[in-house]
């Protein structure tokens, strides 16, 4: 087992999934955002066309 520093991620809690880079946790994985990719894919899988897919793409804020 490897240890990881949480100093750069003070809001991390037990149960969170985090991205660890060279021994330091640098980001929490956001499950809602992760889901968006698959909403999008489900849509193009069903429709097989381009229409109406943009709303499912991850957006920049």
């Amino acid at each position: 087992m490897k240890s990881a520093s949480l100093e750069m991620l003070p809001t991390a809690e037990i149960g969170d999934y985090v991205l660890v880079h060279v021994g330091v946790a640098i980001s929490k994985v956001d499950e809602e955002e992760a889901k968006k990719t698959f909403d999008y894919l489900r849509e193009i899988g069903e429709v097989g066309e381009l229409e109406d897919i943009d709303e499912y793409l991850p957006k920049t804020e």
Binding site: V22, G23, V29, D30, E33, L41, I44, L50, K59, T60
Partner: protein, 284 residues
């Protein structure tokens, strides 16, 4: 947690590739900025199944391979000194210096240690108070915070025999240098997701609007990379040049404030030589 292995699903990958094929109407050149993305493109065979209109340009170089030769030589020189323990990431050991690499120096008896994290080097310094422990610290913005943190740890614990040989490189100045090269014909960029995890997306808005290039912050799994390419191609076909975030499950718009603060506390920006490219202003 869901949505981990799903990012490697070949059926889903094929669906997005089909979508790219339906979208593209003319040739485009796209640069993926991070070697991790190049690795994903090659290892997963993505590069072979992209439509022929799309050319992926790999660059501008990873922090390991662009580390200037004089710093490799300096690291070898330090490593050969009897009172020094030289530590670095494993992939630094094979990079050629002027006469040899760190692995060959190790074979000749130098105390060269491969570490997973710079924080381990601080522990080595603590355990070896009669030695000077040097961490050969390379990396993009992603790795710089951990390298900085090792120095903060050493200072906090009163360890005085720990130092780093720093060779950090910054991504946005390199993208700018690539675009400004008269031979460059790059139409769009996949920005490095893990760099943006630290720095946020803010640095890319002026680049996208000034140079009219789409920039999509992209992850590293096969689905990430293929979706990033689709997002760039859609923009190119529409003639837009926005910054988009494909990797939003990891990258927050503002990045990681704690990590940025420690970079600013420990390092300052300077001109940097990129091996194979030359000096890029304010890029290290």
């Amino acid at each position: 947690m869901k949505y981990l292995k799903e990012y490697r699903d070949p059926v889903l990958a094929r669906k997005i590739l089909d979508e790219i094929r339906r979208t593209v109407t003319r040739p485009w050149s796209i640069m993926e900025v991070c070697g991790g993305q190049t690795h994903s493109l090659v290892k997963n065979g993505i590069i072979d199944v992209l439509p022929s209109e799309i050319t992926m340009i790999h660059g501008p170089g990873c922090p390991v391979c662009v580390t200037p030769i004089h710093l490799i030589d300096a690291a070898i020189d330090l490593a050969m000194r009897p009172n020094v323990i030289l530590c670095s990431f494993g992939d630094m050991l094979r990079v050629p210096g002027s006469n040899q690499n760190l692995l060959e120096a190790k074979a000749q008896g130098a105390d060269v240690r491969i570490l997973y994290s710079p924080l381990e080097a601080v522990a080595i310094a603590k355990d070896n108070p009669t030695k000077e422990v040097v961490f050969f610290a390379v990396g993009f913005e992603t790795t710089a915070p951990a390298n900085a943190l090792s120095l903060v740890h050493a200072k906090r614990e009163g360890i005085t025999n720990y130092s780093i040989l720093a060779s950090h490189v910054l991504v946005p100045p390199a993208i700018k240098a690539v675009i400004n090269d008269p031979l460059s014909k790059i139409d769009g960029f996949l920005a490095a997701g893990h760099v943006c995890t630290i720095m946020g997306n803010g640095q890319y808005y002026p680049l996208a609007s000034e140079y009219k290039v789409p920039i999509v912050v992209t992850g590293f799994e096969p689905i990430d990379v293929i979706q990033g390419i689709l997002m760039v191609v859609k923009q190119l076909e529409l003639g837009t040049h926005e910054v988009e975030n494909q990797y939003s499950r990891i990258v927050r718009e503002e990045g990681n404030k704690e990590a940025r603060a420690i970079i600013e506390q420990v390092f300052e920006v300077s001109d940097q030589v990129w091996r194979g490219i030359g000096e890029i202003p304010s890029s290290g």
